[in-house]
């Protein structure tokens, strides 16, 4: 399922080329078809879930005929997908940012969870919901509590006083029982002047975040911006202080957690360049100057503290065991525990172990911006195989697959606008305008264009994207904004680059 016929789609038995932002219509239509065909896993639903009747009523309007014009997928193809999913011995739903970079990201995810609950494709080997992580430690960041509402091991800051107490004892400090701000809320607070200082570690928000003009304005308005980085990125250029650090994956020791919750060891393989400091040293030194002596712990000592404050999560994961077992999947509460291959198996206990899994009623909502006569295209953004985010890392090697930034456009639209391969075009949204060469791509349908954020020095794609975000997750709607596309000249592109 992808609006573009990607190289993965080319390998698929069936490609569901849905319209951008119609994910819930598709999920709900599949659900209705599964229910009406008698393929729902009634025993599992009865034993292990709640809210099924409300859910069933909510998807009733999503007939195949209703979903076809919304999703752009023929009704019989939706039916085929629904039956294949429901009757498979094992099935899993894997997704990435195509589901989560929408204003209704959480609802999109819930609609997929609903499908897994409906069919019992959860909590069993080879089944389940898999958000595929885009960074080598984005899971680990969450694991360690680098999110505004959880402490390490996903212990809730507001609702888990016992966890707070455990941390307070070890850290010898008081933990405020209130959620912090997510990135979107922080940007808002910076604009409002409520947040005046910012410490950025290894991120390039000046180029990676939606509506770049807006973000740069927020960053430049700060009283104090500190950036800890391995390069002088565009964000670092805006900083009052830059702290050069080691590349944590090869110049220092530690752990990262991959997409399957496997905690694995990173090891120091080489010496950092002169002047670059280990990140633990930098943080400990900052603490020391604020009056706390952390004694510059080793990575293993920090990890062992995680095992103490989040025992259910990581208690059994000593460095020694991580070495021996080649990584361990959390949760791993004690040293005799082998790690957890898949989650939620408790749902298959009778009666259900713990809280039953709730169905969620979700309704289809189109993207915030729809196509209009003034902005007749929908722009969706994403990644390409050989590149990575804003190109800070992937810009460092010469790949024959690097073609620079381009606007991918369907052959039909290119023909209509008189655009040939490589022609420079101007792409304009309600927020800004950029120039890029056009690439005619048969993977795209009419009225849909595609860009990446890999070459922000040449094409500032995020000048175009919209700063509306999901109120629950804070994720911006990178996947959909309305634009218009016009022919431009090479001279215009050169002038803009200067």
């Amino acid at each position: 399922m992808d609006p573009r016929r990607t190289s993965s789609a080319q390998w698929a038995d069936v490609w569901l080329g849905l319209r951008v932002g119609s994910d819930i219509a598709l999920s709900n239509a599949m659900a209705r078809e599964i229910i009406h065909a008698g393929l729902a896993h009634e025993a599992f639903i009865g034993n292990s879930t709640t809210g099924f009747e409300e859910y069933k009523a909510s998807v009733e309007m999503y007939t195949l005929e209703y979903a076809e014009p919304i999703t752009g997928i023929p009704a019989d193809v939706i039916r085929e997908a629904a039956h294949a999913f429901a009757t498979a011995e094992r099935a899993m739903v894997c997704w990435t940012l195509g589901i989560t970079e929408h204003h209704n990201a959480v609802d999109n995810v819930l609609s997929l969870i609903n499908l897994c609950l409906l069919t019992g494709h959860v909590g069993r080997w080879g089944s389940g919901c898999n958000p595929l992580r885009g960074q080598n430690n984005v899971q680990g960041g969450g694991d360690m509590g680098a999110i505004p509402n959880k402490l390490a091991g996903f212990q809730d800051i507001e609702q888990d006083p016992a966890a707070r107490e455990r941390f307070e004892k070890v850290w010898n400090t008081k933990i405020q029982p209130t959620y912090g701000k997510n990135l979107t809320q922080m940007l808002h607070a910076m604009h409002q002047g409520e947040m005046t200082s910012l410490f950025v570690i290894g991120e390039n928000p000046a180029q990676s975040d939606a509506d770049a003009h807006h973000v740069v304005k927020a960053l430049t308005g700060l009283d104090h911006l500190v950036v800890q980085e391995i390069f002088l990125t565009k964000t670092a250029e805006l900083a009052h202080v830059v702290l050069p650090s080691t590349a944590s994956w090869c110049e220092s020791d530690g752990t990262v957690t991959n997409s399957e919750r496997r905690v694995q060891r990173c090891r120091k393989a080489m010496e950092p360049p002169e002047g670059a400091r280990d990140e633990l040293w930098i943080l400990s030194e900052l603490a020391r100057r604020m009056g706390y002596d952390w004694k510059t712990p080793t990575a293993e000592e920090v990890w062992d503290e995680v095992r103490v404050v989040a025992p259910d999560f990581a208690g059994g994961m000593s460095y020694k065991r991580l070495e021996e077992l080649g990584g361990i999947q959390w949760p791993c509460p004690d040293e005799s525990h082998p790690g957890t291959q898949f989650l939620h198996s408790r749902l298959w206990e009778t009666p259900v172990g713990g809280r039953p899994a709730p169905f969620s009623v979700v309704v289809n909502e189109p993207p915030t911006e729809e196509r209009t006569p003034e902005f007749p295209f929908l722009l969706t953004t994403g990644r390409r195989l050989e590149s990575y985010n804003t190109g800070v890392q992937s810009g460092g090697y010469d790949s024959p697959l690097h073609f620079g930034e381009a606007l991918d456009i369907s052959p039909e639209d290119a023909l209509r606008l008189g655009i040939a391969e490589g022609d420079i075009v101007r792409i304009t949204s309600r927020r800004g305008s950029v120039l890029a060469p056009a690439h005619i791509d048969r993977a795209l349908r009419e009225n849909l264009v595609f860009m990446t954020l890999h070459f922000p020095d040449e094409v500032k794609t995020n000048v175009l994207t919209i700063d509306v975000s999901d109120p629950k997750s804070g994720t911006a709607e990178f996947k959909a904004c309305a634009v218009r596309v016009e022919r431009a000249s090479v001279g215009a592109m050169n002038a803009e680059l200067v």
């Binding site: 390998w11 002088l232 694995q264 990575y388 890392q393 460092g396 790949s399 024959p400």
Partner: protein, 321 residues
């Protein structure tokens, strides 16, 4: 417990019940191994070493190099140990005169026609089988263009020379080079690029007989092919015919020195798959990235970013995007 809900132990895990054991004799030693084991696998459990070129534990055997042949009593022809499965009461000889003679022929023909200078362990192997590839004559001059060979159109070979697969090194991109003068046609790269790992199918075997060679579609340069530069072909190549350009350049400059390289396993800095990257560091710089064959996540495979995308850590001075 209601019957409709499967108990936890049956939640769809693959069947791992023990297999039936098979008794056989190898070089006079009786042993029992699980049904489905290859002769090669059975030999490994006795620490009997069998030479291989086209075999790799992460690839399906293609039985083309014929270096691993063994004698099975009662069989008319020698059997490839890498793919022949054990059978009850089988009697196998791994070092009989017939086996050694056959392996010697394979090795001599390869050594007379292919540059094996970067094939690990080959010098010792040629010695241990008393190979004299030079008896086929001095190497013939390289073919002008092996890629243009047309099936069925051959000039008669000159019996004074040993025909070779020599041809110019193909350097058409910054990531890796293809030196088919060193290619023994083991098919490993084709398998890794194709159905066994990458499913990209950028390369295949073109031509027939002695003209057979690994080729992209219509022999186009790699950048014009379907190649995605994962380098998983490099990872499985036993002869160094496929090599990262860094290693190739360092070798050409005479500064490739594996004995001075520090080898450290860490995790790739890119996506969330969490591939183990083995970094080979020489004089403070990463010179090669590989992944262990036995790693459960990678089976030795990486993508273009993992295998080649680490250069950013080595040049920090320039401002970046």
């Amino acid at each position: 417990m209601t019957s409709a809900i499967a108990p936890l132990v049956q939640l769809g895990r693959p069947d791992r019940t023990p297999k039936k054991m098979v008794s056989l004799t190898i070089d006079g030693h009786g042993l029992e191994v699980p049904e489905g084991t290859t002769i090669l696998g059975a030999c490994a459990s006795l620490d009997i070493e069998i030479p291989t070129l086209c075999y790799l534990e992460t690839l399906r055997p293609v039985n083309v190099c014929r270096l691993c042949v063994v004698e099975v009593e009662g069989a008319r022809v020698l059997a490839p140990a890498c793919s022949r499965l054990v059978e009850p009461d089988m009697t196998v000889h791994t070092a009989s005169p017939r086996v050694r003679h056959s392996r010697k022929l394979v090795l001599e023909l390869l050594a007379s026609s292919v540059d094996l200078s970067t094939t690990a362990g080959m010098t010792e192997l040629l010695e241990s089988y008393d190979c004299r590839p030079e008896r086929y004559g001095p190497p013939a001059p390289p073919a002008a263009n092996r890629d243009a060979a047309i099936p069925g159109h051959h000039a008669a070979p000159d019996p004074a020379f040993a025909a070779t697969v020599a041809q110019p090194v193909k350097i058409d991109n910054e990531l890796y080079v293809r030196d088919y003068t060193k290619c023994v046609l083991c098919y490993k790269c084709v398998e890794a690029c194709g159905p066994d790992h990458q499913n990209t199918f950028a390369i295949a075997v073109a031509g027939r007989g002695f003209d057979a060679r690994i080729s992209t579609e219509l022999a186009v340069p790699l950048p014009d092919s379907a190649c995605v530069y994962c380098g998983n072909c490099i990872a499985v190549c036993p002869t160094g015919a496929l090599m990262a350009k860094d290693e190739h350049d360092l070798r050409a400059a005479g500064s490739w020195d594996p004995s001075s390289q520090q080898v450290t396993d860490t995790i790739c800095p890119y996506c969330g798959v969490g591939c183990t990257l083995t970094l080979h560091v020489q004089d403070g710089d990463i010179v090669k990235a590989t992944s262990p064959l036995e790693n459960s996540i990678t089976l030795g495979n990486l993508c273009v970013k993992g295998r080649f995308g680490w250069r950013f850590v080595q040049n920090r001075s320039a401002p970046r995007a």
